[in-house]
């Protein structure tokens, strides 16, 4: 069953809660960037916000922004987060160390679970419906989206917020750095083409998508389907795309662009290069992690970028990894995490 992306909102290392990145992207050069944050007082009063960590405030702000103008019931909130409220978790663990496991701050303890995010959003939106959280590292959002689509298919829900939320603390950045997750040198835009070294640069993402069954004037695009795969070969990916094209009622030649999660890391990018160049040798490729950085929630921005391109009917030059600008009608979003968890989705206008 196709569903519609009615709206989307993002807080990331680009300007928050807007699509300035489409026309005026902030091009970063470095290894580690934290979110550009909006004024949270617009979304939650300071007394309520004082116990919330930054990720919770971002999640709430992006969820409320995605719901602007929406006044129908909300049936579900599904969240994807790799690390959960890791900043608060760190505070709690450090307090345990400092205080000898005595006199621990309860607020930090309460927020040290991954599903705090979805439950807090539900509380503030007064949504008593389906609420689930998926924590599968870089495939967390993809799994959350798959769950929402299954709930639509089962007829359990008619609307859903699907969210991706991850933050990157200095401590976690350093831990990832030790296992070569980040580039040793500052990442520059040109490194995304023909990556020769491992590692990417760190960003943060809080993104929310409002899904519904009916198309409206504000709908961004249609989501024809999504397939998740584990360690697939090219044949399995081809089969998944066949399935999606069938669901969308189109053929291979109708695909106008493929969104890929190129992140400037050699082994990561080789997978996209090999797979997509083989499956779609003459189709434009869109990249997005040069704008939003790498994080466990980053794959959500691939969907976000595709949805906005479809709504606006154009692909700006700064998003084109390969090929010529086209007026897109059908875009495939292809993500993988460490060449294990793969996902492919078809979005159409």
């Amino acid at each position: 069953m196709a569903v519609y992306i009615q709206s989307a909102a993002q807080i990331s290392i680009q300007s928050p809660l807007c699509d300035d990145w489409f026309t005026n992207p902030i091009l970063r050069e470095g290894r580690y960037f934290r979110c550009e944050e909006p004024d949270f007082k617009q979304f939650v009063d300071p007394m309520s916000a004082r116990r919330m960590g930054r990720l919770l405030k971002r999640a709430l702000a992006s969820a409320k922004s995605a719901l602007v103008g929406y006044d129908a019931p909300l049936d579900a909130i599904v969240t994807g987060t790799g690390l959960g409220c890791i900043e608060t978790t760190e505070k709690f663990l450090l307090a345990m160390l400092k205080e000898g496991e005595q006199a621990l701050p309860p607020s930090h303890f309460m927020q040290s679970t991954h599903n705090t995010i979805g439950s807090l959003v539900a509380q503030h939106l007064k949504c008593h419906g389906y609420n689930n959280t998926f924590t599968h590292r870089g495939a967390s959002f993809d799994c959350a989206l798959q769950d929402a689509l299954m709930q639509f298919d089962l007829g359990n829900i008619s609307s859903a917020l699907v969210c991706a939320n991850d933050e990157m603390t200095e401590l976690y950045f350093q831990l990832f750095d030790q296992i070569g997750y980040w580039k040793r040198e500052e990442v520059k835009a040109e490194m995304f083409h023909n990556a020769q070294t491992e590692g990417s640069f760190a960003g943060e993402v809080s993104a929310t998508f409002l899904l519904g069954k009916e198309k409206t004037n504000n709908t961004l695009c249609r989501l024809d389907g999504q397939v998740l795969m584990y360690e697939p070969g090219e044949a399995r990916v081809r089969e998944a795309i066949d399935q999606l094209l069938k669901q969308g009622g189109i053929g291979w030649s109708d695909i106008d662009a493929v969104v890929c999660g190129y992140n400037a890391a050699k082994s990561n990018d080789e997978v996209y290069g090999r797979m997509v160049n083989s499956l779609f040798p003459d189709v434009a490729q869109i990249y997005y992690k040069h704008l939003f950085g790498e994080s466990f929630a980053a794959s959500a921005m691939g969907y976000y970028v595709a949805a906005v391109c479809l709504k606006r009917g154009e692909i700006p030059a700064h998003l084109l990894f390969k090929g010529q600008p086209v007026t897109p009608k059908h875009i495939l979003v292809y993500n993988h995490f460490q060449n294990k968890d793969h996902s492919v989705a078809l979005l159409s206008c």
Binding site: R50, Q102, A103, L104, P105, P106, S107
Partner: protein, 91 residues
């Protein structure tokens, strides 16, 4: 006592993350809790804040509250907290 009250105000601001509030803005005799009535005077703290205050007293002053029913009187205001701390502190 006035020094303890001043310190306590700052510790409460930090522990409860009362952003934008200064010690001078807290009346030591005003109620800390207002029973959920936003129009009532005081800081308007809630039950989770009460837990934070219990932790604060243990961590900073070595006081372990053993009788929960005492809490209502101890946490009436900053002044009552300071009085209890001055009599029972172990550090």
């Amino acid at each position: 006592m006035s020094e303890l009250i001043e310190n306590l105000k700052n510790e409460v601001i930090e522990a409860l993350n009362l952003e934008g509030m200064s010690a001078a803005e807290i009346d030591e005799n005003a109620p800390l809790f207002n029973g959920g009535d936003p129009t009532a005077p005081g800081l308007g703290l809630d039950s989770i804040d009460a837990l934070e205050l219990i932790v604060l007293m243990e961590r900073n002053y070595g006081i372990k509250l053993k009788n929960a029913s005492e809490g209502k009187d101890i946490f009436k205001s900053i002044a009552t907290m300071a009085e209890y701390i001055s009599k029972n502190r172990t550090k």
